[in-house]
Symmetry: C2
Subunit: 190 residues, 2 copies
DNA sequence: GCGTCGCTATCTACCGATAGACAGGAAACA
DNA sequence: TGTTTCCTGTCTATCGGTAGATAGCGACGC
């Protein structure tokens, strides 16, 4: 089967996402990426004229796919605790996959070096997650005041990203698991 | 006043720490660093032969100074809630200082690109913080079983690092403050 | 006088980006 | 239908810039 234009574009985006999740945006290289995909770096520039275009496309796609998966979760499950089980499992999967991180989490660490178009996508990812978490919390704690749930959603997102970061840094996924367990124990996570 | 050898070394380490906290280890450049300090890049190589040496020295110093400050805290204060107030304030200060991050937190995100000698220092920083947090928790919750406190210490450290990461990514220190407030509300942080 | 220490100058390797050639297929026209 | 034209997508080759690292020189202090 011949490679179509879309095939290569998709291959670039997949390889790019994996590379960023493992090494960050700064370490993303057109040459390396091209080698992975099996083309020349100039061809990558054809599909993504600048590195900023590529980074923004990666982050946008990451957010879109994440958002779709989260909405699917909310649509098919009703127990908040079970929903949150799945949520924390998503972030755990990145770690389990070769000690990778959330794409937008790792990009947050590199914020000062990101082109503006990438930065806005990182912000969007956080916004999508916070809004979704708040929806779950409304189900879990219908009587709680709304502002408190907003804070809690923020705290949950930050806590999970942090658990992923520290677990990655220590190369010990057990740190992630123990942190999540403690979050649940205190009721931070339903 | 003339610059002694130690002056230059210290200036390099200070500028280096600030640069890493703002841009990460990968973005740390001998040329930029030399320009900041007012010497040539070859001179920086004289004090720190390789980039790995410099990174490891920065992380080691960061851990040592942090450890000393934390021990001082424990020695002069007795109320766990007040002690934790000071602890979260330390991490907040980095954010307030030009949206910087914990040096070892940002290095954790770059883990795959770190030389081994830097990696071990990052691990040490986490270990020092976890051990210290556990000591504070033992004071705050003397009746709790030890393993639970270990988990809680891990969770607190991860949560604070995460709050810092997300707040930095969104360039909104309010995210840090709201997260910490929620952590306290649930009792995760005493 | 012999180390110490910062300098100049240079090396190799890699970066993102661009120019220009070329193959192949679709589209337009006879 | 046969021919010409245009566009798409990839290639080779190269640019200017920066990275970390090194060799060797000269100034200065013990």
């Amino acid at each position: 089967m011949a490679k179509t234009k879309t095939d290569i574009r998709e291959a670039i985006m997949t390889a790019g996402r994996l590379a960023v999740q493992a090494h960050g945006y700064n370490a993303l290289s057109f040459r390396e990426l091209a080698k992975d995909v099996g083309v020349k770096s100039a061809s990558v520039h054809y599909h993504f004229p600048t590195k900023g275009d590529l980074g923004a496309a990666l982050a946008r796609r990451y957010t879109e796919e994440g958002s779709a998966a989260l909405n699917e979760l909310l649509a098919t499950m009703s127990n908040p605790a079970q929903i949150m089980d799945r949520y924390v499992a998503i972030f755990r999967a990145a770690l389990a996959n070769d000690n990778r991180m959330c794409l937008c989490g790792i990009m947050s660490a590199e914020l000062d070096d990101l082109p503006e178009e990438v930065r806005v996508e990182v912000d969007k990812f956080a916004a999508v997650n916070l809004a979704w978490l708040e929806r779950v919390l409304v189900i879990a704690q219908p009587k709680a005041p709304k502002p408190a749930l907003t804070d809690q959603a923020t705290a949950i997102f930050a806590a999970i990203e942090g658990a992923q970061l520290v677990a990655r840094g220590c190369q010990d996924i057990g740190i992630y698991d123990r942190s999540i367990r403690a979050y649940r124990g205190t009721g931070l996570i339903p």
